[in-house]
């Protein structure tokens, strides 16, 4: 259905944009093991995105590539958190902690969906997201418990990303109509509980920041998305009739 497709686009775009950004790290990570780890996460997310865009595309009569390469900025449905820049490694880890905690809870619940298509994708993805979350948690602990510099960097990174959590938990008209997906508001508590546990273990305070009212689900995006799409789409758009 159209609602199912719209929902798949939302969570598919999240993963697509994050994969696009994580891909940058490959050849630039602090150690080779992290080139591999961040590359793995990027690949997983790209895989999830392709499944979700393919699924949405069957309802919309479009291919995954048409959706990825030929939509304009306002047609994307990603949330602002996923559009936040890589920054330094600490920033990438903080962003990864928040996105993976969210996606883990989301896919866990979505795996029980009455939509077999969404449930299937979620069930497959959740195992990989568990690894992403573990990766982010381990590094959060290491950076928080490492040197003074690493601690202040991860603190700053959490302050910078925390405002974008709220958007992930906002219900809207889609959720009034479409009940085959968990309500965003129902994810808030479990996700925040996990995050608070990690912060407690890392002996970090929960950032006291005001939430951003960013609204990517309706096509109103952060300033970061435009340049991300410019680079991602440049070649495909230069040869609109080509196949690759």
């Amino acid at each position: 259905s159209a609602d199912e497709a719209e929902y798949a686009l939302r969570i598919g775009d999240d993963s697509l944009i994050l994969a696009q950004q994580l891909g940058w790290w490959i050849s630039r990570a602090p150690e080779l093991e992290e080139d591999l780890a961040l590359g793995n996460i990027a690949l997983d997310l790209l895989g999830h995105a392709r499944n979700l865009l393919h699924f949405a595309g069957t309802a919309l009569g479009k291919t995954e590539d048409e959706l990825a390469y030929f939509r304009d900025e306002h047609e994307f449905r990603s949330a602002w958190l996923f559009e936040q820049p890589n920054g330094d490694f600490g920033h990438t880890i903080a962003r990864g902690l928040l996105t993976s905690a969210f996606q883990f809870e989301l896919y866990t619940q979505l795996a029980e969906s009455s939509s077999p298509g969404l449930a299937g994708i979620a069930a497959k993805s959740v195992k990989e997201v568990a690894y992403h979350r573990d990766h982010a948690v381990q590094w959060t602990l290491r950076l928080a418990g490492g040197t003074d510099e690493s601690r202040s960097r991860i603190e700053r990174a959490l302050i910078n990303t925390w405002p974008y959590l709220d958007e992930l938990f906002r219900d809207d008209e889609l959720h009034e109509r479409f009940d085959a997906a968990p309500r965003p508001s129902a994810l808030r508590e479990p996700v925040m509980n996990v995050l608070r546990q990690v912060l407690a273990e890392a002996e970090l305070d929960e950032p006291k920041t005001s939430e951003s009212s960013g609204d990517g689900r309706h096509g109103h995006h952060s300033t970061y998305l435009g340049p991300i799409l410019a680079e991602m789409q440049v070649l495909a758009r230069r040869h609109p009739d080509a196949s690759w």
Binding site: G23, I26, L32, D35, L53, D88, H239, W244
Partner: protein, 320 residues
């Protein structure tokens, strides 16, 4: 009557020679001549560096890959190269050199890596040409290395070769798609092949009569075939594939010589080869700069991880 005095070193040398002769593997705990060890360290670390530097020309297109499928394949490929680098650094470490030392040598510009990675990748078609030609040449070089006399090296090569042949096929597929695509795509493919063909032939090293170190490496059964033999084999493999792609081979003088039963090739520009080797390639500076930057930007992360590990083990001890 004279007695033959055998020093302990001579005995060890004799055992070593016998193992080599019998096509047995030398393992890290075995005695080996210093020259053998040094040759291996140089070759393996150079190979590892090549994998790591070799990530860059392709990483350059990850963000711009023109389809999601190609993006996934490319990401996986560049990531594989990081994995290869890791295997090879591990193999070199068994010979008594630390990974940090090798990293330092690389970023300070004191270590070599394959010159091929100093060429730029201006178009998407370079992803195809690198896979097909560069990985193709690498495989020709590396398949015999799976039987290299030093155990850890040979075993690393087995894993690597399996993945490389996969990469080569993917490169070929990229070119095939382009060659059968729009006129611009086909031109892009031909241009890329033109740019990479000769450098890929140079990957086998100078002609045999100018390759002084080869004989010893062959005696030690590290190397199994001469540079020219491998180049022949590679070109022979390419010819039918050029046909399948419908692309032209940039070597207009290439022809099969019935008499010698060999491919007669056009002249390779060895001046360019040595120029790039000496650091004057398009991208030598950029490749090292990129690696150095990643290393320096990551210093605080590595320090944090080390400090965290130190604190954790101190805590464990305190508890125990």
């Amino acid at each position: 009557m004279s007695t033959t005095v055998t020093s302990p070193d001579d005995e060890l040398q004799a055992d070593f020679d016998a193992l080599i002769e019998a096509e047995q593997r030398i393992e890290p705990r075995d005695w080996m001549p210093e020259a053998y060890r040094k040759t291996l360290i140089r070759q393996i670390s150079q190979h590892a560096h090549s994998e790591i530097i070799g990530m860059q020309p392709e990483a350059n297109w990850i963000t711009r890959a023109p389809s999601l499928k190609r993006k996934a394949i490319l990401m996986a490929k560049v990531q594989d190269e990081a994995g290869h680098g890791l295997y090879l650094y591990s193999a070199a470490q068994t010979l008594g050199i630390a990974r940090d030392t090798m990293t330092e040598q690389l970023i300070e510009g004191r270590a070599r890596y394959s010159s091929i990675f100093n060429y730029p990748t201006p178009t998407w078609a370079d992803m195809g040409a690198i896979g097909w030609l560069v990985d193709g040449a690498a495989i020709c070089n590396q398949v015999p290395l799976c039987r290299a006399s030093y155990g850890p090296y040979g075993r690393a090569m087995v894993r690597i070769c399996k993945e490389e042949s996969f990469h080569q096929r993917q490169g070929f597929e990229i070119l095939l798609e382009l060659a059968n695509g729009t006129p611009e795509q086909k031109q892009m493919a031909q241009d890329a092949v033109n740019r990479w063909y000769w450098p890929s032939l140079q990957m086998f090293g100078p002609p045999d009569d100018e390759s002084p170190n080869s004989a010893q490496s062959m005696a030690w059964k590290i190397k199994r075939f001469s540079n020219d033999e491998l180049r022949q084999r590679f070109v022979g493999m390419l010819v039918p594939q050029f046909e399948a792609l419908g692309l032209e081979c940039p070597d207009k003088d290439l022809r099969w010589n019935e008499e010698t039963e060999q491919w007669d090739m056009g002249e390779i520009d060895w001046d360019e080869f040595f120029d790039v080797l000496k650091g004057h390639g398009h991208c030598n500076a950029q490749r090292l700069q990129h690696r150095r930057q990643a290393h320096e930007d990551g210093a605080w992360v590595r320090e944090a991880a080390a400090e965290y590990a130190r604190k954790q083990s101190a805590q464990l001890k305190a508890v125990a």
